[in-house]
Amino acid sequence: MSDSRDFDYPLILCEDFDGILAREGPEASIEQFIDTTLRRGRLLLQAAGGAGKTRTLEKMAAAAIRANHRVSSVEVQKIARDALEADGVDALLRAAEPQLTYEELAGGDSLLLLVDGLSEASSDTAELVLRAVDEWAAMGPSTGTVVADRLTRRTVNPRRWQLATLGPVPRHVISRIVGRDVNDSETGLLESPVNLDIVANLPGEFLSSRSQAIERLTQRQNLSEVDWEGLENLALRVYRERGRRSIPIAWIHAAIGEQATATLGSAGMMTSLGADEITFRHHLVHDYLAAKAASRDSSGWGHELFDVLTLKSSSYDVLVMLLELVNQDQRDVLIRRVYDWNLYAASYLLSRDRSTHGSTDLTTESEILALLGERRFDHFLATRRQVDDALALHGGPLATSYQQASSVEEVVKLAQSTLPEDASYRAWLVVFACNVSPSPSWLVEQMQEIDGVDGWTAANVVRRLGVDSQGRLSIQALLDADSAVVRWRAVHALGVAGSPVLSDLFRALEEDESPSVRFGALRSLADQAYLAESVEMRLRIFRNLASHTGQILADPNLARELARVLHVDNAPDGWIDGVSIAIESILAVESDPRELEKWRRVGSSVRAGNLEMV
């Protein structure tokens, strides 16, 4: 899908991730990007899917060769996670094409290494890649590495890493390429070089979404309808069974036959990954096909499918395409189900939808933005930052107002002043704006709502208002619910229910079969420690958490969340001592020197009140 066409989208050097979200910073030429990379050693290029990251890497490679720099590139998906964990830089260098060796550093010639595909890597793999790049840069001061990545806040040291992003293709360039004036909605779609590239090859067509653009592209290949359906099902199966985008050649042959596979290959849609595996040239094509398969059956839209499609929350672009592929009346259902699974994924869908056709129901959008607004006042600082990022990414007027609210009360007032004529929203508002403390029984009941937004609203409001003994018993009963999401909401609300529920929360952390419930239990135990009535109780909770260290470290999600919840606003007395207990218990059992260093840094950053390392 790439060619030599220059879409003139700006290259922007940013000071921090906030600058990336706002696309703020000095613009640079491709040569300045190269010079900056070689000078700093590390450049992290973060942008949304389809924004032109791969194209930019290709342009950098060409310009670097013209300037007599050596160039090598790495596809992250070709590196096995185990190899990265065991060999670090060695694994990175083995995967480079042409391959690199340490001996080449001795020559001192400038070398540009281009790393693509971090967007599709899981969080822990991405962390290993970034660590390896960091070490490689330290080894070779004459080298510079560019890593292309999605829009997500990474724990890279801004003193060593240059951050950068890509701006939209300017409207006049879009008009020039499509040969006509474009409206706002089309600009939102076509400011993405990938979309514009497709449309440029389909003269005279009016497209409304990326999935429609990719659909047009795929339709140009001479495959039967049966083959396409087989390919869509295969794309979903590969995500489900392999958790990555590389496809065994035997699988694709079985799905569509050797002839059709060869057709796709000769059309440039697929790339070989060696003798046994191939992949779609652009990951968005794989996402589109998997989304198409998922769009056929709305009854399957839930936690399991969303985990599969997004490779466990590695990238939400596939959900954007799923949203585009479903009927207007199903879009609201999809967003609310996504909300039930992952608040931040839902807000990403809203932001992407807003930048193109804006088809989302205003009721749902307003409700989700209000819920995000309230979480800006969470006592966990990492949550606050994540919510701020989500609201900044959305960028709409209402999101901006919630970003500027100075208290939960102001958030509630803002919610009350929104959509005065919308009956559905007003019904939701009765729950969200409830100010009866402790929480009334009807509110606790509402936590069992099937609808994700309604159910989580109730759980959040219960957490805000607190519970009496009757309410506590009612929520404790929900811990035995069949629905994992109801149990998750229950542990979420029990974070404010005081010491009588501590044993329930520890049992949920130890025994619940759902990773989400265990995750929620860990957060609520941190809530309990934060809100504990005495320092003794606080330290007791931390000591008990410390006795679960082995279990927490064995689950990367729990380990990551523990590091996040240790950073709190206005740390109460004894909090630092409690954190020390938790960290010391980890240092006592962890043997990997890098993990040891990471946890020591977490401890130091908590003491220093610095969230940078999380």
């Binding site: 001795a106 040291n157 003193r159 060593r160 040891l596 130091s604």
Partner: protein, 316 residues
């Protein structure tokens, strides 16, 4: 070459007083480009592709920022030797004599060259007490300490640039172990700090950055060091005294926060003076060729790099 160029010696300071004294004593009055690193104007005027030294300040106090800053300095300049130069607490202990008295140790304003670095804050609190654990660190090489530190211990003329000196005798130089922690307690009765000082019973100084630098050197040794093996020295001027027991507190009878206030600048200067003498000695011989870089020149005369020579290094 590093990202910014090459310097034979990199000097890392932490607090503003340390940086100011180092710049003054070393005559490092010009910034190299807009890099945040300083050197002497004469060095730049020579137009060589190698500077004799650069001076930098850590991004913050404590081991983490010192680690980051040391890594940056190594990557930016590829120095052969890194000097961590600044202030520390001197450790005093009670001896076995009757009546009880403090054992000899570094006095305020003296300089300690680290022979070994311990990290005191890594361990486990058990009911029976603090159980330290160990980290991989690189210690200053014995050869440098013997060749350069020992002559400076014997001949204290290196200290002749002291000024505004609060004490009644000039500083002397000690070699001994240093224990690094994440935070030095102002309260001399702090139980944890006393336990650390008791455990590391040979340590003569305590600071908050040497572990970070020692670890950065280890990272380079372990991960980066195919062709590059930097070495380092830790130069600490004593700005206050800390003790390992309540009994020692009583014998010391002074407030270490007040001491630190009075001695901070003077101790930073004595450390900078010791660093100057070390620098002159380190630069007095050229470096031979290396797989990654050509040979590097010597600056056998201090005046070549804009410094007045330390007395024991008087030019011929």
């Amino acid at each position: 070459m590093g990202r910014e160029g090459h310097a034979r010696v990199g000097i890392l300071t932490v607090i503003p007083e340390e940086m100011d004294e180092a710049l003054d004593v070393l005559g490092a009055s010009v910034e190299v480009g807009m890099t945040g690193y300083f050197t002497s104007p004469l060095s730049l005027d020579e137009g060589l592709d190698c500077l004799p030294f650069v001076v930098a300040r850590s991004s913050d106090r404590s081991n983490g920022p010192a680690n980051e800053s040391a890594r940056a300095l190594l990557e930016d300049w590829r120095p052969e030797t890194l000097l961590l130069v600044g202030i520390a607490g001197g450790i005093r202990r009670v001896g076995n004599s009757v009546p009880a008295a403090l054992e000899p140790g570094p006095a305020l304003g003296d300089v300690v060259l680290a022979t070994m670095v311990h990290f005191g804050d890594y361990g486990k609190d058990l009911p029976s007490g603090f159980l330290p654990r160990w980290l991989p660190l690189v210690h200053p090489p014995k050869r440098l300490l013997t060749r350069h530190g020992e002559p400076m211990r014997i001949n204290t003329e290196w200290a002749e640039g002291i000024r505004d000196w609060p004490g009644d005798r000039p500083p002397t130089l000690h070699q001994g172990e240093i224990v690094a922690v994440e935070a030095v307690a102002s309260n001399p009765f702090a139980e944890r700090q006393q336990a650390i000082l008791r455990y590391f019973d040979k340590a003569i100084a305590i600071d908050m950055e040497s572990k970070g630098v020692a670890e950065a050197l280890f990272d380079y040794e372990a991960d980066v060091g195919v062709h590059y093996h930097p070495r380092w020295m830790c130069v600490r001027g004593i700005s206050d005294l800390v003790v390992g027991s309540d009994a020692a507190v009583a014998l010391l009878g002074e407030d270490n926060a007040a001491q630190r206030e009075e001695w901070r600048k003077a101790a930073a200067r004595s450390a900078a003076l010791a660093a100057r003498a070390l620098l002159i000695r380190l630069l007095s011989r050229p470096t031979s060729a290396h797989p990654e870089q050509p040979p590097r020149p010597a600056w056998p005369h201090a005046s070549q790099i804009g410094m007045s020579p330390a007395p024991e290094m008087v030019e011929a």
